[in-house]
Symmetry: C2
Subunit: 375 residues, 2 copies
């Protein structure tokens, strides 16, 4: 009965979670629609069009390409685009002037060579991992702008005027993006990273609980299906690395808002994430012990039940507590206190040394590491 | 002495590997430069420019944006761009005609509404995970083209002609991309996925070897520094999931080449990758046992040395063999034979049951699972 209740509450939790995620997606879509409609006004309203002319195209392009799900991502892409355009435009103008000076048939050759050299150099630059992570899009736009400016300069148009007008429309597009992104229900990558870290603590706590439950009850009930339910929790923790990296990257761009100040320590979130992933691997090996065929007999198992449950319930409650304290950004109990308590329970367990004991001890070693960090 | 030799050979291996990677990056950069210079000819050569006019801009844009490191990625992005442009252009023309029919002041309102509706709907569509994975870029281009076509249609230009000309230049840009990407030293995502799978087998084999070595020798030499060298191998395996997913996604787009036919089973690579990641978690827990403080005494350790080494050397050689057989695409020894042999060595080990034995047995359980797959 309670199990059914548990499962249905879990199910409703998932639906709510999916629900909020869907709502977020819906809001994001509507925001994009609004931004597009706003930027189309540049074409639709006669006086505005007279001002910007065909260059309004670049504003539309900017909105379509730059508007991302998270506010930080939009901001970073927009700034990258701006920097890339300015740099590419300046260098392009210089190269175009140089080609003009050379004159004659050598002009086309000069332009072609500069396109080749700058294109290749910037592409190589783009493949450097640290550049790729933060400025990939900026370098792309740099290549694009440089090429467009340098070749159209050859056609004898007023390159500088053209470049300035395009930059102006790009800025218009960017401003529209930022206003819609920040003023209408902003989605913060920082909130997402914060919440997902807390969820990780809870997931791992649930997984540890589940493992212990299965270990001490399976033999009389023999329903292995629940074990697979547990695995979702720690598997999602284990494979969260690249997602976390992205979120932290965006979060660093986001301005001050809510409870996060400037210089919020986002790198610490990544570090905590790494430690939690380590803990997740320990849980996997714990689960591996549950599933391996040579199981100890029931009496042996029962003899270690009490200390094991003491350790695990302490672990679970500490994980939940740490998750809560991160959620509310309170300082948790000093790490030293927790570690002393942990070591005493661990000592109890070592007295009942056994196969399970060793692996559990391994999990504990990792956890104490987590706690050391929390100080 | 041999250790020094080992380390220097490892170092040279890394340098060679970094060297080949750098060469690849250099080649890629030069290829991009060539493609850009080629596409600039549209501007530079008078007769060509007379044909395409200002629309040559779109060809440059296509080359800059579509050219990616792997051939499969370039192909998928190019096809996405093509599909997005065609679909967006068609729907944009329809919407523009509709607005023309409505006429009067309602025209601007019709255009604005259609921009909002299509923009929001396509953005929502884009956030669906399965669409995002494969057609993200196509939908982006769809939104862009639709908007540009529908608003410029309002300006009373010959929308259809404009759209057709732009499409033609985009096709030119795409053809230049594909020619440079496929004809000059092509980089195949399929090769990369294939080799990285083989490297994973070797990395794990080396890690297992290293763990055993440390366990049975540390106490008299006490150099823990080597242990951290081992960890690079399995950590890179553990965090390879999202990279593998991307590579498999690109590899599916790549045409027949070398030893890979159409319908090469790329999904099986992902499955093998999953199993190897599972094995990596077992190795992590094995290493956890090595590091946890309550170590068994040296005599106890020596008593289990022989069966442990038998198991591990068998494991290592089998992993290497499997890696080789994937490398050369030969069929390996039937899985059943391997498993029988594995179980007999495992039985030996169980006789010397101990803490280490249990965890090793856990690793074996996973490996036998890998072997089952290989049949």
């Amino acid at each position: 009965d309670t199990k059914k209740k548990n499962r249905s509450s879990l199910l409703s939790l998932i639906i709510i979670k999916k629900g909020t995620y869907d709502t977020k997606q819906l809001i994001h879509s509507i925001k994009v629609g609004i931004a597009l409609a706003l930027v189309s006004l540049l074409y639709l309203v006669e006086p505005l069009f007279d001002q910007v002319g065909e260059n309004a195209m670049w504003a539309i392009m900017t909105v379509v390409v730059v508007f991302e799900f998270f506010a930080g991502a939009t901001l970073s892409k927009g700034l990258n685009r701006g920097m890339g355009t300015v740099l590419g435009g300046l260098l392009g103008c210089l190269a175009a002037m140089l080609a003009q000076e050379v004159g004659g048939t050598a002009r086309a050759a000069t332009v072609g060579t500069s396109v080749f050299i700058f294109g290749a150099a910037a592409t190589y630059f783009r493949l450097v991992p640290s550049i790729k992570k933060k400025y990939d899009y900026g370098v792309l736009i740099f290549i694009l702008t440089f090429n467009l400016v340098v070749v159209s300069g050859l056609r004898g148009e007023q390159t500088v005027v053209l470049a300035r007008e395009r930059l102006a429309t790009i800025v218009i597009g960017f401003v529209i993006c930022m206003l819609t992104s920040l003023l209408i229900f902003p989605m913060w990558a920082s909130d997402e990273l914060h919440c997902s870290t807390v969820t990780k603590f809870n997931n791992l706590a649930t997984s540890i609980e589940g493992c212990l439950e299965v270990y001490f009850k399976t033999m009389d009930e023999n329903n292995k299906s629940r074990a697979s339910n547990i695995s979702d929790g720690y598997m999602s923790v284990l494979h969260s690395k690249s997602k976390d990296d992205n979120l932290a990257n965006f979060a660093k761009w986001e301005p001050w808002h809510g409870k996060f100040g400037f210089n919020h320590p986002w790198d610490k979130y990544l570090y905590i994430g790494d430690l939690l992933r380590e803990l997740a691997t320990s849980i996997i090996s714990l689960k591996g012990c549950l599933q391996s065929p040579p199981q100890p007999s029931m009496p042996l198992r029962l003899s270690i039940k009490d200390p094991c449950e003491a350790v695990s319930s302490f672990l679970v409650s500490t994980l939940r507590e740490l998750g809560d304290s991160i959620m509310n950004m309170r300082r948790s109990r000093p790490g030293a206190v927790i570690i002393v308590k942990l070591q005493s329970t661990r000592l109890e367990l070592r007295e009942a040394i056994s196969a399970l004991g060793t692996v559990n001890g391994d999990g504990l070693a990792t956890v104490s590491f987590v706690f050391l960090l929390m100080e």
